[in-house]
Subunit: 476 residues, 2 copies
Amino acid sequence: MRSIPEPIYQKLANLLEDMIRSQSLRPGDRVPSVRQFSRQQRVSVPTALNAFATLETRGLIEARPKSGFYVRARQADLVREPKGSEFPARVTDFADVDPLVSLLADHSNPKLVPLGAAQPNAALLPAEKLARILGVIARRHPELGIGYDMPPGSETLRRELARRSLEWGCSIRTDDFIVTNGGTEAISLALRATCKPGDTVAVESPTYYGLVGMLRELGLNALPVSTDSSHGMDPDVLQKAIRRTRISACALIPNFNNPTGSLMPDENKKRILELMAARKIPIIEDDIYGDLNHEGARPRCLKAFDRDGTVLLCSSFSKTLAPGYRVGYIAAGRWHRSVMSLKAHSSLACATLPSLAIAEFLRNGGYNRYLRSLRQAYRHQVVQMREAIVETFPKGIGLSRPKGSFILWCELPKKVNSMELFKRAQAAGISITPGTLFSPQGGHQNFIRINCGHSWNARIERSVGILGHLASQLAS
Amino acid sequence: MRSIPEPIYQKLANLLEDMIRSQSLRPGDRVPSVRQFSRQQRVSVPTALNAFATLETRGLIEARPKSGFYVRARQADLVREPKGSEFPARVTDFADVDPLVSLLADHSNPKLVPLGAAQPNAALLPAEKLARILGVIARRHPELGIGYDMPPGSETLRRELARRSLEWGCSIRTDDFIVTNGGTEAISLALRATCKPGDTVAVESPTYYGLVGMLRELGLNALPVSTDSSHGMDPDVLQKAIRRTRISACALIPNFNNPTGSLMPDENKKRILELMAARKIPIIEDDIYGDLNHEGARPRCLKAFDRDGTVLLCSSFSKTLAPGYRVGYIAAGRWHRSVMSLKAHSSLACATLPSLAIAEFLRNGGYNRYLRSLRQAYRHQVVQMREAIVETFPKGIGLSRPKGSFILWCELPKKVNSMELFKRAQAAGISITPGTLFSPQGGHQNFIRINCGHSWNARIERSVGILGHLASQLAS
C-alpha cells in the first residue's frame, strides 16, 4: 500500500516539460537528440526514448522525419488562467439560483455531446471487470447480496478504505468510515450533522453546484469566499471573512476543485485547518477528484493534517470506478455518531453488492495500476480540450490549467451570458454547464465548465468548434 | 396484470375458518367428512379435500386416523388483541426517545436469534434468481451498470411499477414515480418535501420506529393518534386531534401497520383522505407490507382513492424481494418536483444494476406466483409464532392477529419493562424490539414486537420459550 515511486523516464519528461512551459525551449525549437539526452542525464537510451515518447503523448513535442524532436507550437500554453471573482464575502440569498432539475435531464440526455456533466469516460472505466466481480459475488453468496448491509456498511469495503487512506496521507481506521450512497449522500449527511437550518457555511466561489443546491435545500446560507483557479481558497481571505460572519462549517474541495481544478498547497490546508480547529468549526472536505492527479504524487487530503476529528472527509468512486454503483464514504471525525444516526434515518443501508464489488476491486483488481493509466488518459484529454478551446474560442478568454481531474473552467468575454450559451449549445446538440450554477452569490455569468471526461474524437472536436462560434456570436 | 381470482377451495377454507374462529365449530369438534362437504357445497371431492388440506396447513384442523378431521385446540385463537394506548393526542417532545443506532447493531448481529428486525426470511426470497438476473445484465451491458441513473431513475423499473400499481387499486403513470434508495429514503424525502423543521406530523401510535427517528432527526414534532391493532387509525380520533393541533402532514401505514399489523378498512382510508384533502394536508403513505396479505385480495392503497395528488405513496421491495438491493420508490403526487430536487441533493442517483434486476424480475420473473407462496409462508410462520407465544408467555397478554406481513405486536403484563426484557433477551442470545421505540410519546413500555420473518425451527421455538420465561420473571 506504499505509494509507487515515479519512474525515472517520467521525471525526465517533467524536467523537459518544465523547460518548455517556462519558455526555455520555445515552440519550433529542436530538443536534444535521444543519444545526447541519455548521455547528459546519465540514463540508458531506452529510458531517454521513453521520456520523449511521454512528452509526445502529452502533446508537447513532435517528431519530424529524419530530423529529431521539436517543441510543438501550443497556443493553449499562452492563454491566461480565469480570474477569480472580486466581491466581498457576503452571506448569500438563494432566491435567484436556478434549481438543478432541468440540468439533470440535460446531463443524462444521450443525444447531446457530453461536455456538461462531470462524467468520467465510460470507455476508460473497468466496467467489464467490475461486472464480472459483481456477478461472481452475487452467485457465490446470493443470501449476502439480498441482506441488509446496515450502517456503517460493509466491513470489507471499510477495511480497504482504511488501507487506501495511507495514500491520502491519512491513517483512518476501518471503524471511522461510514459507507454512503455516493459522495452526494456523504456531503449531505455531513452538512446535516454539523449545521441546522439558518446556519451559514463558508464555501469556495466558484464551487460544485451540487453543494450550492444542497445548502439551499437544507435551508442553509452560503458565505462564498473568493478563490483562484490555481491554489484554491486563500486562508487569509477566509480568516477575514469569518471575522465578520459566524459560520457553522466550511465546505471545501481542496484537491482539484470543481469547477476550477485548483489544488490547495499543503501549507494552506494546514492553515485553514488550524483556523477552523481553533474555533471548533468543522471542515467538510470533498475529495472526490483526489485520486485523479495528472502526475507526481497523489495530493494529500486536508484531513491528513487533522488531529482532533475536525474534518469530515467525503468521497466516492464515482469519478474513478463506477458512478452507477453509488459507492461513497465519509470519515466524519467527531461527528461519527450523528452521521451514523442520520444515515440510518435517510436511507437506512447501502446496496450490498456494489459495495462488495468495489471492495474486491480495491483488494485484488490492480486499482493502483489502473489509476495510473486513468490519470494519463485524463491528462491527455484535458490537454487536447485546452488546445481546441484556445484555437476556436474568442480571443481574451481565461482557461484553467488543472493539475488533476477532467474538467475545465473557462472565462468568456464579459458580454457572454453563459445561460444563453447553454441554451444555444443545447439547441445545437451540445451539453455544457453554465457558470452561474457554481456561484452561490449568483456571479460567474460569463463562465462555463467543460467536461473532458470523454476520449477525444471528431464529434467532440466539432462541438468545441461550434461552441467557439456560439461564444463569439454572443461576445460581439 | 389483473389480480388473480381466489380459487374455490380457498374460499371454502375461509368459510370453515370463519366458523372455527366464531366458535360455531369448537376445538375438538368433528368437521363434516370430505364427501359430505363436497355434497353440501356442490364442489368436487378433490376441491373439498384441497380446502381441508389448506385448513390443516393453517393449523386449524387435524386428521385423526380412520376418524376424519377435527378442529384443533388452539390457545392462540382465544388470546385477546393488544390494547390501544389511551392517551390524549398531544404533540411529542422527543427528548426521551432513544436513538436507533445501538439497536441497529443488535439487528445485524448474526449471532442473535433474529426476532428483532423486521427482516424477511432470506431462504424464501429469490436470492439466486435475482443474482442470476443481475449478473446477466451486468455482463451484457457493462457500460449501463457503471453509468449514473439520474432521477427519476430507471424508466424500465418505473414502467413495471406503473403496471403493478393497478394491483394496488391505483393507476400511477411511469413519470409519476421516482426511484429511491429503499423505502426509508422515500419517506425521508416525503417528510422533507412537505414539512419544515418545527412542523408537526400526525402519526399512528404505535408506529414504525424508523419514522419516529426520522421525525426527530428532521426537527419535526409528532402528533401521535391512538390506533387499534385491527383497523388502524380511527378517522374520528384523527379529526378531533387536528381540530386542536395544526399539522403539516399525516404519515400512515394503512396496510399492515408496523408493529400492530392492522389493516385500515377502505371506508376509513376514504374518510381520512377526504379529511386531509379538504385541508390540503398531504398524506405520506408507507405501503411496504401491502403485498404481503395472508389471503384474499391485496388491499388497496390509500392512494387508490386520491384524485388530486394529496398522497405521497412510499414503498420498496425490501420486505418482498431483496432488502440489500435498496430499491424503493415514491409517487409523490403534487410534491413530485420538490421530491425530485431533494433526491438529487440527498443522494443524486440510485445504484443502477439493482434497479434493473428488480425491474426484470417484475417483468419476467413470475412475481405474482412468487408472492402467493411468500404470503402463505408468512401466514404460516405467524400462526406458529402466535401458538408458541401463547403457550409460553405469561397469562393475560394481548397479541395482534395480523391479516398480513410477518410481525407480531405483543402486550405484556403492565409490570414488564420491555427495555429490560430487550436487554435480558440480548444476554440470552435473542434479539427483539422493545415497544417504547414505536411510541412517539414514550409509551408502550410493556409491549414488544416479534419478527416472524424466519422459517420456524427448533432454535426459534426454544427462544420463544426463553422469552416467555424472561417475561414471566419480569411480570412477577
